[in-house]
């Protein structure tokens, strides 16, 4: 890799600025604002961009105020926050395990959330066709909370099972895969036994959906991000050192176990809140850090760029789902349909360069 950092000095203070990463992040922010504006303006009833801006600053007419502030803004905000959370959590786990395959979807956490949610959908018949097998407590919990509990419980189990005089990245990932496969099997068993109506409704949740998400979904996300984003950014130095191997990191003064625990708690917290809000948007946490890495050309997935690009991808998916497609499709499918070809394009371009 070429040199990617430029020293910057202001008075006595000096620090290294990774120029290419900074450029990608700023460009990404530009794209993100453009997408947010479009997402707020377009829909069943198009509102001119100038009116959107006016409404946001409190000066629009009541009709567009209702549409923008009550209907579209919460959903767009949820899309942004989910994208940030998933992008960041993918960057954290991939850096931690030093393996591009180690995204949260592979650590069994999304599978835990899926099992929780599908159990509630299938066992309580909460798809609205009535006649659930279990009512009462399980129904009270509801799908989002069940997903959250499923994700957190799986993460706790993962940590306990992986602990053996410390956490080793490879052991963590392998155990995560074991947990994930077991939970997926339980989920498919529920789906095979369910009535077809419940199975169909579970399938919709399993693909991730942004439709009619409101403030009640946005606020938990906002609170979690407010805590975990600073924590993650503080970890960057220690994570950089850990790229050199555990022993070198210790030698450089990194408190290995504290860093590992914090990284995992941050990654798991971000994914759990995101999945309970919109269901598993499977591909985002995996692809976004890899795309960000290829754009910035660093040695590990960049945190800031991953957050911004994650938000771009999910808001873009929301836009495509609501505006472009003639029929309703879960946002999770759209993120995959946008993200996958882009990753493929990047791979082909990189491979050409390598072989040329």
């Amino acid at each position: 890799m070429a040199t990617i950092s430029t020293p910057l000095r202001i008075g006595v203070a000096s620090w290294l600025v990774p120029m290419r990463a900074a450029a990608v992040t700023i460009a990404g922010l530009g794209v993100l604002f453009f997408l947010i504006a479009l997402d707020l303006a377009l829909g069943d009833f198009d509102i001119p961009l100038s009116d959107v801006v006016a409404t946001l600053f409190g000066g629009g007419d009541p009709a567009s105020e209702f549409i923008v502030m009550e209907l579209r803004l919460p959903q767009t905000l949820v899309a942004v926050l989910v994208g940030v959370a998933l992008g960041l959590s993918g960057a954290l786990t991939q850096t931690f395990a030093r393996n591009p395959l180690a995204s949260p979807d592979i650590l069994g956490i999304l599978e835990g959330a899926a099992f929780g949610a599908v159990a509630v959908i299938v066992l309580t018949g909460s798809s609205g066709y009535g006649g659930g097998l279990v009512t009462g407590t399980l129904q009270e919990i509801g799908v989002p909370l069940a997903a959250f509990i499923g994700a957190m419980a799986t993460a706790a189990l993962l940590y306990v099972l992986s602990w053996r005089r410390g956490i080793d990245g490879q052991r963590l990932v392998l155990i995560g895969i074991g947990l994930g496969a077991t939970l997926t099997a339980l989920t498919s068993w529920l789906l095979v036994r369910a009535r077809i109506q419940d199975a169909a409704s579970a399938q919709v949740w399993l693909n991730g959906s942004l439709t009619s998400r409101g403030w009640e979904h946005a606020l938990p996300l906002l609170g979690t991000l407010a805590v975990l984003v600073p924590v993650s950014l503080l970890l960057v130095h220690a994570l950089n050192a850990m790229q050199l191997g555990d022993d070198s990191a210790r030698g450089l003064g990194v408190k290995l176990q504290v860093t590992q625990l914090l990284t995992l708690v941050a990654a798991v917290g971000l994914v759990s809140v995101a999945v309970s809000a919109v269901g598993p948007l499977e591909f985002v946490a995996f692809v976004v850090p890899q795309v960000a890495l290829r754009l910035t050309g660093g040695s590990r997935p960049p945190m800031l760029a991953s957050m911004v690009l994650g938000a771009c991808l999910v808001v873009g998916a929301d836009l495509v789902t609501r505006v472009v497609l003639p029929f309703a499709l879960p946002a999770g499918l759209v993120t995959a349909a946008i993200g996958a070809p882009y990753l493929i394009y990047l791979l082909i371009r990189t491979n050409r360069k390598v072989s040329a």
Partner: protein, 346 residues
Amino acid sequence: MTTTAPGISAPPRTTPLRRGSLRGTALLVALLVLAAAVSMAVGARNIPLSTVIDVLFNPDGSEASTIVHELRLPRTVLALAVGVALGVAGALMQGHTRNPLAEPGLLGVSAGAAFAVVVGIFAFGVTDLSGYAWFSLAGAGLAAIVVFAIGSTRGGPNPVSLVLAGAAVTALLNALTQSIVLRDWETLDDYRFWVVGSASGRSIDVFWQVLPFLLAGMLLAAISAPGLNLLQLGDDVAASLGMHPMRHKVMGVAAVMLLAGAATAACGPIVFVGLVVPHVARYFAGVDYRWIVPYAAMLGGLLVVLADVIGRVVVRPGELQVGIVMALIGGPIFIVLVRRTKMVRI
């Protein structure tokens, strides 16, 4: 690409304690025969073992004979074949990508097969399992070729790119599959039973249908396995030792495509075999791929046959699909293995 698999940066530090041996092979073969016998004897209807053996060699048209020949024999043979194929495919896949997390499903094989089957059900009204098999063979093959093309440089397939390309193609195909399934409940109803992976309800014709592909895959696997030992040292070292890395990798990936594609065609996507079995094989057979590959074949067969038997027994009179059992047993065993031992690193 500098975020590499752990295995690439960390070469094996400890010398493995165990190695493959003829004695171990004999033991595994014996266990395999035993498992197959149990699979023939156990089922919803109790048939004495003596009767099973009797009608197996002298079909007399009785009810017991029909059950043994039409139901139990095909599913035993299929479970065995699929297990062997997936075990070998997994070992080759992990060896070629040098990534301990690689499994055949990552090459887009399962996703390609699933998409083709859903298209078959939705657009062509295919309903029988042998019809599914043709669609899933075609889908698996096409997806794997696309992944291979994307993940290759002029110097041959690049391990990390290959895995990423597989994940990308899988995600794309899953999106297409889901968008069909979500719009059509009838297709979903057929699809949800196919996608868990099952050896039951298939006639022996399905086995003959996929056999040529399995044999071709096994042949390629046998030719390319010894070369994997050299390839673990890296392409440059292997080339300087007189090997042709590119040719070997093309052969290895082709073998994975054929084996995993045929297995998926026969029984639907059975996850986990290709991932877990090579780790277990490495635990018993050490680092030599000339032992790992045959061990993975036998362990794979053993695992799938046993999972199929267990699925028949646990929820009587109903049945648990082999794919589900596989993950429910394989998952915890795998976790215990990972915890207890210092896994032989790739």
